[in-house]
């Protein structure tokens, strides 16, 4: 990033037809605006690519071919769909509350795009290296709920209202395990900055966090799936129950915005998972190459990053193709009674392990080194892995022993009285 901005500043300083000397900040402004264009340009592009990918993957799972007419392998189909959506009539129901109705899809899409600000795409390429990066992700992610709620509420449709009910219940409750698992990561990394997190996942520092914290990863990914409203957690738009839920009344471009929001959210979740748990752009030879030729190293990093992102996206599509959908009470049970306690417990054990292995004085205040600090990053990783597995084992025991209070008894009682 630095070399590019320097290059831009030099370029601006040497423009012959510009009468005034360009301030040094101009280069930064241009760079930021450029970045914004890229980010918001990527959103529709991502939707096009991902819908095509999803249709192909789901088709293969379902023993079909998928789109194959428009263009080679049907990849123009998604483009055609995008054009169709742009040209469709944009309807607003007569009884709708216009302002939130029109704002909702925008908020959904924007909240998803904003997450990319803190995701390092390649070495040296990051929107903004916030020192509260992870906190920012949670904060930005939660205002997408607002968009969903606005869309569902303002449509003045009963199915949309039910979708909005579910949105609030689901998205709010799954934010908690997600945030707690992110805190666990922050505790282990000693920072909330995504760059530091990637730095700490170097092999010398202990390697990828998915190895050290598989349970944290699982909680984060599952909660993230619920946050992105993907199957099997797609209750907000459960098509066989509440038709399309909160976006049932949308058409044309506004519908496309909702879809963009969904797919970019998916991309953001995959990007975050890759960054936080799979070491982001890290891979063989990236750093060496980056130090020698920054452009090539950056490209290689981007390739690694995209590969990891695609892996997660494939997993999400795979889930969608094979898993039935939860029911709302089961979904909330799963969130509140399983994921939240699990993530809290996991946070405690991880913090304890980190305290043992902490090297001296890292976080501003002078901290004494942990008693086992001498084992270094790899020691921390293996200790975390062991503690995670222990947590998983205890959780599975707990689930087995705690008999789930059966809803069926209530149902049978009701049926008995009514019948």
């Amino acid at each position: 990033m630095e070399p590019i901005i320097t290059w831009l500043a030099n370029l601006l300083a040497n423009v012959s037809w510009w009468p005034w000397p360009a301030p040094p900040s101009a280069a930064i402004i241009i760079w930021v605006v450029y970045g914004l264009f890229i980010a918001f340009g990527i959103a529709p592009l991502a939707m096009i690519v991902l819908t095509w990918l999803e249709r192909k993957i789901i088709a293969r799972i379902q023993d079909r071919i998928g789109p194959n007419m428009a263009g080679p392998f049907g990849w123009l189909q998604a483009v055609a769909d995008a054009i169709k959506m742009l040209t469709k009539e944009d309807t607003t129901p007569a009884g709708a509350d216009r302002i939130p109705f029109n704002l909702g899809p925008g908020l959904i899409a924007v909240s998803a795009v904003l997450v990319f600000a803190v995701i390092p795409l390649a070495p040296g390429i990051i929107g903004s290296d916030l020192n509260i990066g992870i906190f920012y992700v949670v904060a930005v992610g939660s205002f997408g709920v607002l968009g969903t709620l606005m869309a569902g509420w303002s449509s003045n449709n009963k199915y949309a209202l039910l979708g909005a009910f579910r949105a609030v219940a689901q998205l709010v409750s799954y934010e908690i395990p997600m945030a707690i698992s992110l805190i666990t990561v922050a505790v282990v990394a000693g920072s909330m900055s995504t760059l530091t997190i990637i730095h700490n996942q170097a092999v010398a520092n202990g390697g990828w966090y998915i190895v050290a914290m598989p349970i944290t990863f699982l909680v984060f990914f599952l909660a993230g799936m619920a946050e992105t409203n993907r199957s099997p957690f797609d209750l907000l738009e459960a098509d066989s129950e509440i038709v399309a839920g909160f976006h049932v009344e949308y058409s044309g471009m506004k519908y496309a915005m909702v879809m963009i929001g969904e797919y970019v959210h998916m991309l953001a979740l995959a990007g975050l998972s890759a960054t936080i748990f799979l070491g982001g752009w890290r891979g063989p030879f990236v750093e060496q190459l980056y130090n020698a030729v920054p452009i090539l190293g950056g490209l290689l990093g981007l390739v690694y990053f995209l590969a990891k992102v695609l892996l997660f996206i494939f997993v999400m599509m795979w889930f969608r193709g094979t898993l039935p959908r939860f029911r709302i009470d089961q979904l909330l049970d799963f969130g509140w009674k399983f994921l939240t306690p699990l993530s809290l417990f996991n946070l405690l054990t991880s913090a304890f392990v980190v305290k043992l292995f902490q090297p001296a004085g890292t976080a501003g205040v002078a901290l004494p080194a942990g008693p086992l600090a001498g084992f270094g990053g790899l020691g921390l990783t293996s200790a975390l892995l062991i503690s995670n597995l222990l947590v998983a084992f205890i959780a599975s025991l707990a689930v087995r022993s705690l008999a789930r209070r059966s809803r069926g008894n209530v149902l049978k009682a009701v049926a008995g009285v009514e019948g």
């Binding site: 789901i58 799972i61 379902q62 023993d63 079909r64 009963k158 199915y159 209202l161 039910l162 009910f165 579910r166 199957s231 099997p232 797609d234 459960a238 098509d239 066989s240 129950e241 509440i242 038709v243 969608r320 193709g321 094979t322 898993l323 039935p324 959908r325 939860f326 029911r327 709302i328 009470d329 089961q330 059966s406 809803r407 069926g408 209530v410 149902l411 049978k412 009701v414 049926a415 008995g416 009514e418 019948g419």
Partner: protein
């Protein structure tokens, strides 16, 4: 005659029994209308009788039969513990049509709750009023319909068809405004619903999970279901009336269009009923072929159920639907090979099969079986039977106890899913089912998961039957009865025999004429018990053609099953009832 039912009825109610009639092995007891309820309770509760299953209620307009009084209500009863049947015929003295009032009879909903919809239908189509019915409204025809279509004096045809989308017709000018300005149109169903405190939503007529144009008015407290009111009739096309204006033979293709997922079974039910009326002997090989095709049809129907059920519950695993349709495709290919049609087969005719089985038939079926069993079924089971999400969505959802199920008249896999091993193929074997070895799968869970397990096992049992039939089936031999009064003579005979030519002429121009009488044929369809009631007045056209379609009766249980559950459970419940709107609305 040593019929315990009639003996007991006669001793207990000497005044109520007006007459006992026996025809083709079926007993009809004519009762006085006043003592219907008393008799009904006795029939249900007496330990020697136990007629716990009310199969059907229908009205008869005996206008042209020359009987008086004009209307009669008919009740088809079945005793599951005693495996016996009886028909109650209750003539209703009352005001004739024309002077406004309707003939009136007591409702038996208090004795058999399943009578609810059946009586509503009779009221709607035949114009018989049931006193004491909880909610007597039209069920098939629109609320504002005039007249009762199944009455014999109801005009047929000749009325102009008014298309409400004809914008230039001033008669419909008000409709546009009404549609745009009106409130959401649930008001007529919601008479007993709490509109202030609860959310009332319409699931359907256009809803992805209602399998057609079914409309459920659902009263919700948050996501919890308080009450469901199904609204039917969107697809009503008057099949019974059609049947009463077609010759016996001509109605066969109409059967295909009712439960369009099981045309072979529907054909068999109808054809067997008419054959019983005619006393036709069907050749052994034709009977075997019928069983084979009907069992294949059962598999095909269950496959569609499995795919759509999985799709409803999951929303996104269309994978199962695609796999299920893949196998069904192969069954349909066999049907196509047999008769040229895939869905509207009309392959069975009165007296046998319409055409002989093609030469490669057995090989084709064997080929299908080797792929489908056990690998195909195991693949489905492997995908969902033990899937925790699938289990949690189905288990303890839509609970129906055996008593409730019988009271509601639920039959087929739903009844067996509630733990009662009642299958007509075992209880009253027809078409030679008793020669084959198979089990009746049951599950005492009583919930959607139990019904799921039962249907999966039923597919296995069907495969078992098909395999046994294949071993007994021999190519060649007659595929139809040789009774020239019923089936057309072969082509070559017409050119050589005068008699054959006459038979051909008579059959084509007039059709066969069964003797006077009333029969009610039952068959175990994939979805439950299918019944055909035929009343013959000696002509080539049935005087009354009544159909009992399992989906219609089973759908009645929705409210009982869904109350107290969640909105998502409705989808599971509809899926596990396995309805086909073609036969619900007929």
């Amino acid at each position: 005659m040593t019929n315990i039912t009639t003996e007991k009825l006669k001793t207990r109610f000497p005044d109520a029994v007006l007459g006992v009639e026996s025809f083709k092995g079926e007993t009809t007891v004519t009762l006085k209308a006043d003592s219907l309820l008393e008799t009904a309770r006795f029939l249900r509760d007496d330990p020697d009788l136990q007629y716990n299953l009310l199969l059907d209620v229908y009205g008869m307009d005996r206008h042209r039969l020359g009987l008086s009084p004009r209307f009669a209500a008919q009740y088809e009863l079945f005793s599951i513990p005693k495996n016996r049947r009886i028909r109650l015929n209750v003539p209703i003295a009352g005001p004739q049509a024309g002077n406004g009032a309707l003939p009136k009879i007591d409702s038996v909903t208090g004795v058999w709750p399943t009578a609810n919809w059946l009586e509503r239908e009779t009221y709607d189509l035949m114009g018989i009023e049931f006193a004491g019915h909880p909610w007597l409204h039209r069920i098939m025809m629109p609320r504002n319909w005039v007249g009762h279509p199944l009455r014999k004096d109801y005009p047929l045809g000749g009325e102009p068809v008014n298309f409400s989308f004809d914008k230039d017709n001033p008669r419909f000018a008000h409709l546009g405004k009404q549609i745009m300005a009106g409130p959401s149109f649930h008001s007529e169903l919601a008479e007993e619903m709490d509109e202030e405190g609860h959310l009332i939503i319409n699931m359907g007529p256009q809803h992805p999970a209602t399998h057609g144009v079914l409309r459920l008015a659902v009263e919700l407290d948050g996501e919890r279901v308080v009450k469901i009111q199904p609204e039917l009739g969107y697809l009503h096309s008057g099949f019974e009336k059609i049947g009463e204006n077609r010759r016996y033979e001509q109605f066969i293709p109409y059967c295909d269009r009712l439960d369009y997922l099981a045309p072979m079974s529907n054909n068999l039910g109808y054809v067997m009923t008419v054959e019983r009326l005619l006393d036709v002997d069907v050749p052994q090989q034709a009977q075997y072929a019928r069983i084979l095709l009907v069992e294949l049809q059962r598999i095909a129907s269950h496959l569609v159920w499995l795919g759509t059920h999985a799709m409803d519950v999951s929303g996104t695993i269309h994978a199962l639907l695609m796999y299920a349709f893949n196998w069904r495709e192969k069954i349909l290919d066999i049907f196509e090979m047999v008769c040229g049609a895939r869905m509207t087969t009309s392959y069975f005719c009165v007296g046998g099969l319409r055409w002989p089985l093609p030469g490669a038939f057995q090989d084709a079926v064997r080929h299908f079986l080797t792929g489908f069993y056990p690998d195909g079924i195991n693949e489905f089971e492997g995908m969902i039977t033990n899937n925790p999400i699938w289990k949690s969505r189905l288990q303890e959802v839509g609970y129906l106890s055996a008593e409730q199920a019988i009271a509601l008249g639920v039959t087929g896999p739903m009844l067996r899913g509630s733990g009662l091993a009642f299958d007509l193929r075992k209880a009253q074997p027809y078409s030679g089912y008793d020669r084959f070895d198979f089990d009746v799968p049951t599950s005492d869970r009583g919930d959607s998961y139990g019904r799921y397990l039962v249907r999966m096992e039923e597919m296995r049992q069907s495969v078992r039957i098909v395999e046994q039939v294949l071993n007994k089936l021999k190519p060649g031999g007659p595929h139809k009865t040789s009774d020239r009064k019923v089936v057309l003579p072969p082509r070559e005979e017409i050119s050589t025999s005068m008699e054959a030519l006459i038979h051909h002429f008579k059959l084509v121009t007039e059709g066969f004429k069964p003797p006077k009488g009333q029969v009610y044929g039952l068959i175990e369809n994939p979805k439950g018990i299918l019944g055909f009631g035929v009343v013959s007045d000696g002509s080539a056209v049935p005087h009354r053609l009544r159909m009992r379609w399992p989906s219609f009766v089973n759908l009645q249980a929705t409210d009982t099953m869904a109350r107290g559950g969640l909105l998502s459970d409705i989808v599971t419940i509809i899926g596990s009832i396995d309805i086909v709107l073609g036969e619900v609305d007929r």
